[in-house]
Symmetry: D2
Subunit: 378 residues, 4 copies
């Protein structure tokens, strides 16, 4: 398998449309825009239905990259996977993480050590009536495996984070299904987002053998014991396909980065977070609190308010707050903990976690530079 080198850039944003940091990296020669495969951003909207910062950031990225790629703005979005997550509550800081991939000049010489790799795949276009159902799980699961192959990852245990963009329903799509004599899983656009995220996340669990197969229609958004420990899904109106980005480690990848993950079983699960950090050697056995924060490139986590209304037996008020949505509460709290441990607010904490980790918890992955740069090839 061909070697590939992965580069990662965490770039602060001064506003949803600020692409100046990205352009600076391109103009300095550090980043060849043609190598960009994915950009994951945290933007400063409310993360809810009327959060326009996500589409605004995407539009600005398309416009900004257009001249560098010699493509019309609209075509940029077809070439690069943009995933914008709204909501930078508390200490969270707006930023983007840019992933670039290029053929490695030579095979990795780091003695078989695995390095961060990234792979992308798409599903076929879904019919509206497939959203939130077993057929979405099935097709997305196949795409996860394809993305793994694209990432040159063979072992499930080497997959540490799977980001999925999935479609949602609109009134027109619901109508189109009805015209075919079929009923969609819901008529509500908003609810369809949860259905699509749930099915996509279970697809990851299926692909990685985390749960038994097959997944029945009625397990989706119902059987919360079924979940993936590495899935992160977000629904968007702009596509009817699923886009799958697999992140993990591969012997065929070279570069300065490794990835690992852990599982936060609830929103205050310090040990789950430390397990993620330990998995890439950020925590020494003797001095666990002296985290090697300077090696952290970014942390990717899902957060949600515990549906029981309690965290470890103590009542929380996130689900009863008519002023602030529970997703904002959850991002702020989990973001506070992760930022505290990693020493930086520019971390990717995203809300809404159907079948993404256990109820009230969520996966947490970390990308770090390898410990000893000297031995890393250029």
């Amino acid at each position: 398998m061909d070697g590939r080198q992965i580069d990662v850039f965490r770039i602060p944003m001064r506003g949803p449309a600020d692409v100046s940091g990205l352009i600076a990296h391109i103009e300095s020669g550090e980043l060849d825009p043609r190598n960009i495969v994915a950009i994951l951003g945290k933007t400063e909207g409310n993360g809810g239905v009327n959060d326009f910062t996500r589409e605004y950031a995407t539009a600005a990225l398309c416009s900004g990259l257009s001249p560098f790629l010699d493509l019309p703005a609209a075509a940029v979005e077809e070439r690069i996977a943009f995933v914008m997550s709204g909501g930078t509550e508390g200490v969270l800081s707006p930023h983007m993480t840019v992933f670039a991939r290029r053929p490695a000049a030579h095979q990795p010489d780091h003695a078989g050590a695995k390095r961060l790799s990234i792979g992308i795949a798409m599903t076929r276009p879904f019919l509206p009536e497939e959203i939130g159902r077993a057929s979405q799980v099935e097709a997305t699961s196949a795409a996860v495996l394809a993305a793994m192959r694209d990432a040159a990852i063979t072992d499930h245990a080497d997959v540490h984070y799977v980001q999925i963009k999935c479609p949602l329903l609109t009134a027109e799509r619901v109508e189109a299904a009805l015209a075919r004599g079929n009923v969609t899983v819901t008529k509500s656009s908003y609810s369809s987002m949860a259905w699509s995220r749930g099915a996509s996340s279970l697809a990851v669990a299926v692909a990685l053998n985390e749960i038994p197969v097959p997944v029945a229609d009625d397990a989706i958004l119902r059987d919360w014991n079924l979940y993936s420990g590495v899935a992160s899904a977000s629904a968007g109106i702009e596509l009817m396909r699923g886009v799958v980005i697999v992140f993990g480690n591969s012997v065929h990848a070279t570069g300065r980065y490794v990835m690992g993950h852990g599982m936060m079983r609830d929103a205050i699960d310090l040990q789950g977070l430390l397990a993620a950090f330990s998995s890439v050697g950020l925590v020494s056995r003797d001095r666990p609190m002296e985290i090697a924060t300077d090696r952290i490139v970014n942390v990717f986590a899902k957060a949600e308010a515990s549906p029981t209304g309690q965290v470890r037996g103590f009542r929380h008020t996130m689900l009863d707050d008519t002023d602030i949505s529970s997703t904002r509460h959850a991002r702020a709290a989990v973001g506070g903990l992760i930022a505290g441990l990693s020493g930086c607010g520019a971390v990717y904490v995203s809300g809404g976690a159907e079948h993404q980790g256990p109820p009230g918890g969520g996966p947490v992955a970390v990308i770090a530079t390898v410990e000893d740069i000297a031995s890393t090839p250029p």
Copy 2:
């Protein structure tokens, strides 16, 4: 000096008016209501101007305790210091901490070891024109020293948390000053809360020799290098005096509790938080991440959005959010970190921190049970 025993009860609340947990402690005989000296609560309002959960909780406590103390409800508030802090964002959990004090049956037998003590004092009534000015600092400072004596604490280093309730201005109070030919520091009720908190907090710093004396009028809410590392102030409309509650350790106190504190220099200052935990022996040198959370009785912290708009060089969006006030953001984030480290969301994290710790940071104090009552060294 007479020995005294301090008891502390952390009691969850199912709503702002829920006193059932408190009553249960009284009826079980664990807590003699006549010994209650102070109750610090976290209630689930927005913590802002229109947060009525604070006064509602106080009213419910007065009504609930009234029959047990054989006092009219209105008289209960004169006997017990109630400090209600609104805002249980993120994983924070509504609860009250009840402090009771009674004469010790005998002198402490723990070989001179210090135990949690508590003392209370009041200032004279202030004139409206004194609020937010040097004379408030001076008089409150004297009350801090009086409360230390009441707590039988002689060494400044043994004071770990000073909670102050201080007055605010109203239109009538501003008018009354004008009628005397005097001008108040502000005409705005809302602003006067910050002025009063700031002067009160500087009073703590003066009393504990944390800053040079005297404090000039124009240093208040201006010279942010002046602050106390243990002050926590809140302004209330119901009084014109200051009420000072000093918490710390004393050789004259007995009981199961010790207190310590640290300083969070910013909202993600993990090491500052760990220092507080270490000060009461919750963190072992070898295994700093294995915090003895089962010994934690409660954590008391102030949180605020960094006024620079950044935390460690990364932009935060708390001050620019027109949808959610920055105090709510800050409590959610700091609460997430503290809850994560202490394994519990029922911690006392309060917003608004003028001269309470450095800008963007705040004091953090912890009450813990003693490790092994028999063997604790002096």
Copy 3:
């Protein structure tokens, strides 16, 4: 039938617990507290799940009236019907409307003219599994008729406003039903409020012959063509019965007040509002804009965001706003229109209008003083 005199007092509130205005009316002799039958209040919370101003206001009223009624505070709530509606958005002003009823000294001498009357009735206690179903409709409908009789109103057309307090489900209540082998209409407390309001409102429609009978289970919260033009329902946790208050005009009532109503077909239905005003003679045929606002005692209206996402073909954004709940938007807008027309913000505009008026619209009732007591025609 015995004559009765109705008195109505609209009293501003300076805060949720402000009963000083009410007490002043009592102490001045204007209002005999033993005659109070119902108090409808607008309190300044968010009107949502975590709006504690409603229960706080009720608690303050119970405490405040307790000495005047020589009853323990808890017993006051059994004697007087309190209906607190949260949310004073925009120009809406916190206030209470106190309704008092006493035997008339003599039969009405206004020549058979009808005057404002009020009647109250309760349903039997409901089982949890009845909430939101046809049996709730049926029993509540009987209570509406009983309240009509209590109000001495015989003609359906004389009923202008029916306020219902109805029960909701809690986890315990859902469990209790399950233990009996029965399933509740929903497991969610929040959703159960809508179910209970919907069933209660349809009960009014049934009692007043506004819709065909019987109402099937599956029409509730589904067939939005079924609605009452005079119902206003709110769900509360404190009761398992329904409490019905009927307002209308009766020949057996005396006093200075008459009532009428109209229907706002959408949130900007000026003509519907004017129809309500016209029904009590506030609008002259020649000068419709010169409304006799000095005769208005209060206006009672329900408001909701149009579920189609549009008002008269123009998109609104109330349902997509993750920052502000749609009920707050709707109250602010409808409150602005009603306050503008009636010249006063202390009007009772309440949100959530399942089967209360057409989708996106709602009933609007008005109480006015009679034009010229001496000369009013029959």
Copy 4:
């Protein structure tokens, strides 16, 4: 003076970036994009500091118009005056109003009747230290007069609405002033917006002889008795000049439109609103409630929460609400009233009204089609 024809298009927007309606008007031939002089939009953000829908809408308009004007997107903003006002609370509906101006084919033949005209002028670039001070008032006042000339309006009484875009301060601009040895009126960006709006609005009052001259520095944001009855100002970061758009009626203009205005003295001033409607003949003397809503093209109003905390003696809660900013409350309420009277939610109600109408009130202007289309020239 040359004749000119003004065209006005009110176009709904399906989202902040929706320019499809505008493009449709262009492609249908109704609107020549080269004639567009100004676009005033209502976008669906929160209208506060972090409302990105304004800049997002402007960016989308620039991109969308760019190919039609054969200009780079950045150059479009220099050619057309874009004024985006955030906040579509309650029934307000996102939309844009497009103003186009072209030379009239022939002199107006409507017998000297005045028709809607529009004129634009810019001030010189301001120094940061001029913002919010008398020199901004002076220079802006001159620009108002220049814009009047551009609109071919000679009589002050024919000016019905003056929209101003004005600069604000940033940290860099404050620093630049300091480097010159000058102090700005405030260091806060947020506060500088109010200062700049206030000075700009007083400039309109000066130009139109509404207040005595000169305006002293210390009258700005202090003497609230000074205000313009037709000014509407908004501050933006993108410019250091002031841009002034004068709307009114001129004998030199032709087209189907006339304009008038009134003054709402408070947020529920129905009569002030009716006066505006009457000024363009929408209200008949005999049937004032039968407003000719089909002739309304758009209504332009400013709204704010009364700074006294009361509206006609009744307390409002807008200024004490920590959950929703007072500007959102005010727009929702005033929008509800205006939409109710005009039968449409797509009206331009904008918040923040320093020196724009009396405290708690604001100007309200209306554009209507002329009554008798038959007599209007093409």
